[in-house]
């Protein structure tokens, strides 16, 4: 017995020693450590040939041209396209997300039909039949909402709506809506275009031009281009607004002013200009002069806005003495501004003689439309969606029988969320074409997911703010990942089913036709070696070789055109100003000053997966968002740093924590937008609160436009 035990011990001992002289222990140790760099549960990176293709960002309102890196044909990265005038190589955090959002957990994988509380997947054929039937029944009372400001898809959508008997085709409210209204009131056609590239003194009234206003990437490039690092800037930017936002952070001067007072400030500056002898032969000048001198003297303005007279005097002088001054007006959070402030701002441009000048403003013509019976963009922008929905909610307006919602999320992206939701409930049949399961899609009866921009044909025509007409192509560079279809095709298919003739069989034809129509526009050219702003500055525009246009667009170049449409004389619309702009007492209540940022996405995209990292912990911590007040306001409202508070407005309550941030005007509560989603995925859902829902909609005197620029809130 003892013997055996020892023998065994011997065997083991010998074996162990022997093993030491073999690869076993050493190779195993080595391979084990190699295994740790090759863990099966860690994804491998794709292999294959790399190439780059061009397209345009549709998710980002700034409309940047993109260069997409592909591996073995699959898109990998979205980068800026240096040869595209709206990108010049830059991309926003949002445009960067074009690729990975293909796989966003929030994507809708197939057409779906509501049954009860939930959705059941259906085939496209079933979907079309269902929709054809319901819409057929709804004839005469079909409304449509589009969140796409720049796409030709709107022509198909509005044409179809019209043929079905339109109860209204609306666009989601934006800077463009307000501007369009203002231009209409001033008696001009076309879309105001701002030539930042050639301006040397820019007065920004409210507009967050470097984040959410218009072609923000291009705006920033234009801004940076004339500011060589470390050297004296060749341009001057002055920002007027309630907070030192991303734009004001880099401007040479920040003039704190309530968003409600932007018009007052503009007219206050006008007073100085007029005093200095500025004049104009535009219609309504005398009335304008009277209005300004009547109530916008330095003291009136000081009383209303708290801005010292000398401040405005200096700005006025700077504008007057600048070679190419430019005044741009907009909402600090990209929506809700009345028409009057825009008119007031524009009248400064008129006093300075900046209309249709290099570095000034030009009224850009609309590109020819190709779908018969379609609404023009101007016509669409003329609609007032919030007013319409409020009407529906209160019963003043008959509720449409059916509603088509394209690239829009009204249940989240509109003010007075509570009211709007009620209005939507009143509409019996709703169809959403959203690619992501957003708040609105969740309310709809049919969800027919649109393919994402990288999977479909689409286009971007002159985004609002662009200083020139521009058209660039969005083209499919990858097969749809889910069972989705290009909404354009779906609508055209539907038209066929309802035997409505829209002239086209598929959306690609529409785009092709659109491009073909561009070749007929005189003065148009492809921006390659010569950029539109250079042409605006006097460089001769190269000729357009018609046949190559499609190829050029596919290659990522943009078709552009400089100069404005033939115009009747632009008027001051002074009567509107008289009614809408009042240098009254400053608001005593606490006013909400929302701010939006592209990194938190749009109401349509939700929070892009990668972007949560970009949100500072002074904006979102855990699941709570922060409001920003300066220490003075904090004291007045007895708020402490980090304290949890409840904001109330428009019959809605929102939770928030307090962040003390000195660059907010006293009495103002700055609040980030883009949070508080109830739909989408775990990157968006339940992260903070949607402070836009606190904003109550009011009607702007004079223009009748819905506005919610300076909502009052209660803090408890």
């Amino acid at each position: 017995m003892g013997l055996d035990r020892r023998a065994f011990l011997g065997l083991v001992a010998g074996g162990t020693v022997g093993a030491m002289f073999t690869p076993i222990p050493w190779k195993l140790i080595d391979d084990a450590s190699i295994w740790t760099q090759n863990w099966p549960w860690i994804p491998r990176v794709p292999k294959g040939q790399v190439d780059y293709v061009a397209t345009t960002s549709k998710l980002c309102p700034a409309g940047e041209g993109l260069k997409i890196m592909r591996v073995a044909g699959n898109p990998i990265l979205a980068g800026g396209n240096a040869s595209h005038p709206l990108s010049c190589g830059g991309v926003s955090a949002l445009a960067r997300s074009e690729v990975y959002m293909l796989y966003s957990p929030a994507r809708i994988k197939s057409p779906m039909k509501r049954n009860g509380k939930t959705f059941a997947p259906i085939t496209w054929e079933q979907a079309l039949v269902e929709m054809a039937e319901k819409l057929g029944a709804a004839k005469g009372a079909v409304a449509s909402i589009s969140g796409d400001n720049t796409g030709t898809i709107n022509e198909v959508l509005t044409a179809l709506t019209a043929k079905l008997g339109s109860a209204g085709s609306f666009m989601m409210p934006s800077e463009a809506t307000t501007a369009a209204k203002a231009m209409k009131l001033m008696g001009v056609q076309g879309q105001a275009g701002y030539d930042f590239e050639n301006a040397d003194m820019v007065l920004v009234l409210g507009a967050d031009i470097f984040e959410t206003w218009g072609t923000s990437s291009r705006n920033r490039k234009a801004f940076g281009a004339n500011r060589p690092a470390g050297a004296k800037p060749a341009n001057t930017y002055v920002y007027v607004g309630p907070t030192r936002n991303n734009t004001a952070a880099v401007c040479d001067q920040w003039v704190p002013a309530a968003a409600a007072d932007l018009g007052v400030v503009a007219l206050g500056i006008a007073w100085h200009l007029l005093k200095a002898g500025a004049t104009s032969n535009a219609p309504g000048f005398d009335t304008f002069k009277a209005v300004v001198n009547g109530g916008f003297g330095p003291e009136d303005v000081k009383r209303a806005t708290g801005i010292a007279p000398e401040t405005l005097a200096t700005i006025a002088k700077a504008l007057a003495s600048a070679k190419a001054p430019l005044v741009v007006t907009g909402s600090p959070f990209g929506q809700g501004l009345g028409a009057a402030p825009v008119i007031a701002g524009m009248s400064l441009n008129m006093l300075l003689g900046r209309i249709n000048k290099p570095g000034g403003v030009s009224m850009l013509p609309e590109l020819p439309s190709v779908v018969p019976g379609a609404l023009t963009r101007a016509a669409m922008l003329d609609g007032d969606l919030p007013a319409f929905l409020k009407g529906v909610e209160s019963g003043k307006t008959p509720a449409p029988k059916a509603l088509l919602i394209y690239d829009a999320n009204p249940a989240y992206g509109l003010p007075e969320a509570a009211t709007m939701a009620k209005a939507l409930e009143k509409i019996p049949f709703k169809v959403s074409f959203s690619s992501f399961m957003d708040e609105t899609a969740a309310l709809c009866d049919l969800v027919l997911p649109n393919s994402l921009p990288l999977e479909r044909y689409d286009d971007v025509a002159t985004p609002y703010g662009s200083g020139f007409c521009v058209y660039s192509l969005v083209r499919p560079i990858q097969k749809p990942i889910c069972d989705t279809k290009t909404t354009g095709d779906v609508l055209l298919g539907l038209a066929r089913k309802l035997s409505i003739d829209l002239k086209f069989d598929n959306f690609q034809q529409v785009i092709k036709e659109k491009v073909a129509s561009l070749t007929k526009v005189s003065g148009g050219f492809v921006a390659k070696d010569v950029m539109p702003w250079q042409v605006a500055a006097g460089k001769p525009a190269p000729a357009l070789v018609g046949g190559d246009l499609w190829k050029a667009l596919e290659a990522g170049y943009a078709w552009t055109m400089v100069g404005q449409a033939a115009q009747p004389a632009m008027g001051f619309a002074a009567e509107v100003l008289a009614k809408a702009v009042k240098a009254g007492k400053p608001a005593t209540a606490t006013v909400l000053a929302p701010y939006a940022q592209l990194r938190t996405g749009t109401p349509v995209t939700g929070m892009p997966c990668q972007d949560l990292t970009m949100v500072p912990d002074t904006e979102l911590k855990g699941d709570t968002t922060f409001i920003r007040v300066n220490s003075e306001t904090a004291k007045a409202l007895s708020l402490k740093k980090g304290q949890s508070v409840k904001l109330s407005g428009a019959g809605v309550d929102c939770q928030a924590k307090v962040h003390i941030f000195e660059s907010v005007m006293p009495g103002m509560v700055a609040a980030p937008l883009g949070f508080g989603h109830t739909a989408f995925d775990y990157y968006s859902q339940g992260k903070g609160a949607n402070y836009l829902s606190l904003a109550a909609v009011a009607e702007e005197p004079g223009s009748g436009l819905s506005m919610w620029i300076a909502p009052e809130v209660k803090i408890a």
Partner: protein, 414 residues
Amino acid sequence: MSIIEIEKTWYPEGVERCSLGKFMKWLGVLGVVALYGFFAMLVCFAYGLGVTGLDNYFGFGLWITFDLAVIALGAGAFFTGLLRYIIRIDELKNIINLTVIKGFICYSGAMLILSLDVGQPIRSWFGYWHPNVHSMLTEVIFCITCYLMVLIIEYVPLVLEQKQINKIPFLHNLAHQMHVVMPLFAGIGAFLSTFHQGSLGGMYGVMFARPYAFRDGFFIWPWTFFLFVLSAIASGPCMTVLICGFMEKVTGRKLTTYRVKSLMCKIGGTMLLIYTVFKYLDTWAWINDILPRAGLTFDQMFYGLIYGKWLFFCELVLCLIVPVICLLTPLRKKPFFMYTGAILACAGVVINRYVFTVQALAQPVLPFTKWEMYAPNWAEWATSLMVIAYGFIIMSLSYRYLPIFPQEVGLNKK
């Protein structure tokens, strides 16, 4: 013979031990703690270190603090070994075994924690295969692993002297032979140990972009290198005495003479005095040279309550001056003062290791960053407790079955 009887035959010659049942209960309690820690350990291995309270600001936390403290307090082993075998202070033979076991426990425990603390334990051998000779941590890895082996070699003969095992002639001889060469290992141990105690300090001293920890030094060694060695050999003997005293309390038996303990404390105290002198010089240079050079002030090194100055004064006054007085003056003759001194000395070293690990990282070097808080979570506490429980278990078993204390029999004659 019943198991109870057999178990009795394993005790060292002529001593009494508590009943097996009682002993089992004691082990059981410790076992539970150890198991809980073991579970935490598995969780860490399975899901990654995200389950801990560590973050990108505090890459080092409780674990590293624990390691450094334990290793410093374990230093009694090499230093006493040195004195006993090389300097030949014969009296220390009465407590040397205890220090060896303590050392073994501390180092093996530290190794355990370290294997947890690295994100890729399977790669830890890279430290040998792809060493960066400039890194203090490489030195630490070398020395600690080697020294652990030394400690094992020192521990084995103790085990072999167990009554039953010792009956086997081969093992008996082996034990004897090992005892003969022990001075050699004591020497090696002393060398290795000194070095990594130093390099542990060096680790912090070389972080020249961390003004809180950075120190100038001699040749490649920052002053912290020497300070850590000194503080370790100062607190090590004290810790041994504390353990010895604790064991006497628990077992109710006298294990060594007060003389021996007192001697240990005197040694510790002397080292502590030397350490104090240098520590004060170092602190002075830190405040008046290092910090100003970095554009920082002494006050900027402290913040709020947890990072407040009180810790600093605790370490440099309460835990240095006071114990020096307790341990080097006649006060030492009174157990109260001797133990208080020993406790304070050990506490001081722990504080020192903590501030160098945590406060050094919490202090914002970039002007636009702020102080951050660190709180260890259950996973870190549980695993640390596991090591402590493990130590108690080893110590209990060793005491019960191994002839650790030559004087025990004599001191407990009825």
